[in-house]
C-alpha cells in the first residue's frame, strides 16, 4: 500500500535540477562522499533498466541477468566519476551510454569459467570469506558464521533504501510474526549502524553490489569493505540479541 503524504514546505520550493546540481557540487568540489552514494542510489534504477533491456535483447546467451546488473553498476560508478557536471549534458544521457558500453565490454571479456560461476555464487563466497574467522574454537566460529550468513539472508531484498513510493517488498502477511518483527528490528538497527557500515550493508544486500563495487563507490579498498561488512554483521547480531531478549 502506498501512503500519500503532504509535501513539506521545503519540497514546495526545491527545484530538482538545482537540487541535483547541489549533490554534484558537494560530491565533486567539496569531497562529500555521502552525495556520491545519494547520486548512485538515484541512478541505480536507470542502470538496472539498461541491464534489463540489454538482457532481454539477447536471449539464449550464457550470462545471467545478475551479471548484466553487475556490469551496469560498474558502468554507473565509472560514469559518476567521469561525468563533468559543468558541461550541461544531463547525467542520465551520459550514464546510459557508459552503462551500455560497460555491459558490452564486460560480456566480451568474461571467460567461460567466470560465466559458469554465477554472480550469486561469487557474492556468497565473498560474504563467507568476510565472515569466516581463523584461530577460534571451530564450533564457536561455525556458529557465529551461521548466524552471520542467516542475517545476510534476511537482509537480502528487504528494500532498505527503496523510495517511499516503491512497491512494498517486505514479507507478506503470511510470513510469521516473529520473522516480521525480527526484520523490522533489523531494519531499525541498520539505521543505527555507523555510516560506513550502513553503506556497505545497504549497497551489498539491497543493491546486490559485490565488495569490489562497494569499495569503488566508497573510495576504500576491497579488504576494508570486507572488514566493514563483518563489523556490521557482528554489531547487528549483538544488538538483535540484546533487543530480541
Amino acid at each position: 500500500m502506498t501512503v500519500s503524504r503532504d509535501p513539506s514546505g521545503l519540497e514546495l520550493v526545491v527545484d530538482p535540477v538545482r537540487a541535483e546540481a547541489s549533490l554534484w557540487r558537494r560530491f565533486r568540489f567539496e569531497d562529500d562522499l555521502r552525495c556520491r552514494e545519494t547520486l548512485f542510489n538515484r541512478y541505480f534504477k536507470l542502470a538496472r533498466s539498461v541491464a534489463g533491456r540489454l538482457f532481454r535483447a539477447r536471449p539464449g546467451q550464457r550470462l545471467e541477468r545478475a551479471d548484466f546488473d553487475q556490469f551496469a553498476c560498474e558502468g554507473l560508478l565509472q560514469a559518476l566519476d567521469r561525468y563533468d557536471p559543468l558541461r550541461g549534458v544531463p547525467f542520465s544521457a551520459y550514464a546510459r551510454r557508459r552503462i551500455t558500453g560497460n555491459i558490452a565490454d564486460g560480456m566480451s571479456s568474461m571467460s567461460e569459467i567466470d560465466a559458469q560461476l554465477s554472480h550469486r555464487h561469487r557474492m556468497e563466497q565473498e560474504r563467507l570469506r568476510s565472515l569466516a574467522r581463523t584461530g577460534d574454537d571451530p564450533l564457536a566460529a561455525l556458529s557465529e558464521l551461521a548466524v552471520g550468513l542467516a542475517l545476510g539472508l534476511m537482509l537480502e531484498g528487504t528494500g532498505l533504501i527503496e523510495p517511499a513510493d516503491a512497491p512494498d517488498r517486505r514479507p507478506s502477511a503470511y510470513d510469521s510474526l516473529v520473522w516480521r518483527e525480527t526484520l523490522a528490528l533489523l531494519v531499525a538497527e541498520i539505521g543505527r549502524l555507523p555510516e560506513n557500515e550502513a553503506i556497505v550493508v545497504r549497497q551489498h544486500y539491497d543493491h546486490g553490489l559485490p565488495f569490489a563495487s562497494v569499495a569503488q563507490l566508497m573510495n576504500l579498498s576491497r579488504g576494508r569493505v570486507s572488514q566493514l561488512h563483518r563489523a556490521a554483521l557482528e554489531r547487528l547480531r549483538k544488538r538483535l540479541r540484546t533487543n530480541g531478549g
Partner: protein, 189 residues
C-alpha cells in the same frame, strides 16, 4: 583604482540580459575581468547562469558577490533563495542571518521570515509574513511575483489538506454510524 564598473556598462549588461542575443555571459565575463571586485557584476553573472541552467557556477558567482559586499542585501537574499531552492535549507538560513540587521519593516526581513516559516512547515505564518513583505516591497516587483507564487502553492497544499481531513471525517462518521447501527440492531444503509 576604480573597483566598480560604470553605470553605462552595467546598463548595457542588463539590456543584454533582456535581449535575445545570448551574449550576456560573454559580456559579464569581459566586465568582470576589467572590474573583478565589482559585486554587482558577480551578482548579475550568477543570475544569468541560474537562468540558463548552470547552477553550480551560478552559486559560486552569487557567493562571490556576497563575499565582496556583505551588505549587498538583495544579493544576500537571492543567494539564500538559490540555496533554498537547491534543497540546502541550513545554508540558506545561515546566508540570511545578517538580513535580520536590516531596518524593521524592510521587505526582505518579511520575506526571510516567511521562508523560514515555510522551511518549518508553518504555513499560516509563512503566508502572513510573505504578504507583509509584498505590501512593503515597491522596489522589486519581480521578487513579489516569486513570493506570490509560493503563497499560491501553500494555498494549494492547505486546500488539499482540508479536503483530506474532510474525507477522513466522513470516513470516521460512517464508521461510527455503522457501529451505532449495529448496537441498536439496525442495519446500515
Amino acid at each position: 583604482m576604480t573597483t566598480l564598473c560604470g553605470d553605462a556598462d552595467l546598463q548595457a549588461l542588463m539590456e543584454a540580459m533582456r535581449s535575445d542575443e545570448h551574449d550576456e555571459i560573454a559580456r559579464a565575463d569581459r566586465l568582470i575581468s576589467a572590474f573583478p571586485e565589482d559585486p554587482r557584476l558577480h551578482f548579475l553573472r550568477g543570475s544569468i547562469l541560474a537562468s540558463i541552467g548552470r547552477p553550480i557556477e551560478a552559486l559560486s558567482s552569487l557567493k562571490k558577490a556576497v563575499a565582496l559586499a556583505p551588505d549587498f542585501a538583495i544579493a544576500r537574499f537571492q543567494l539564500g533563495f538559490f540555496q533554498l531552492t537547491s534543497g540546502e535549507a541550513a545554508d540558506a538560513l545561515s546566508t540570511w542571518g545578517p538580513i535580520a540587521l536590516l531596518p524593521e519593516g524592510h521587505y526582505l526581513r518579511f520575506f526571510v521570515g516567511g521562508l523560514t516559516h515555510l522551511i518549518r512547515d508553518e504555513f499560516d505564518d509563512c503566508v502572513t509574513r510573505l504578504n507583509e513583505g509584498i505590501a512593503a516591497n515597491d522596489e522589486n516587483p519581480a521578487l513579489n511575483r516569486d513570493m506570490q507564487l509560493i503563497i499560491d502553492q501553500v494555498g494549494e497544499i492547505k486546500r488539499a489538506a482540508a479536503r483530506d481531513a474532510a474525507e477522513e471525517e466522513d470516513g470516521s462518521t460512517s464508521a461510527t454510524s455503522f457501529l451505532l447501527d449495529q448496537l441498536s440492531g439496525r442495519r446500515p444503509n
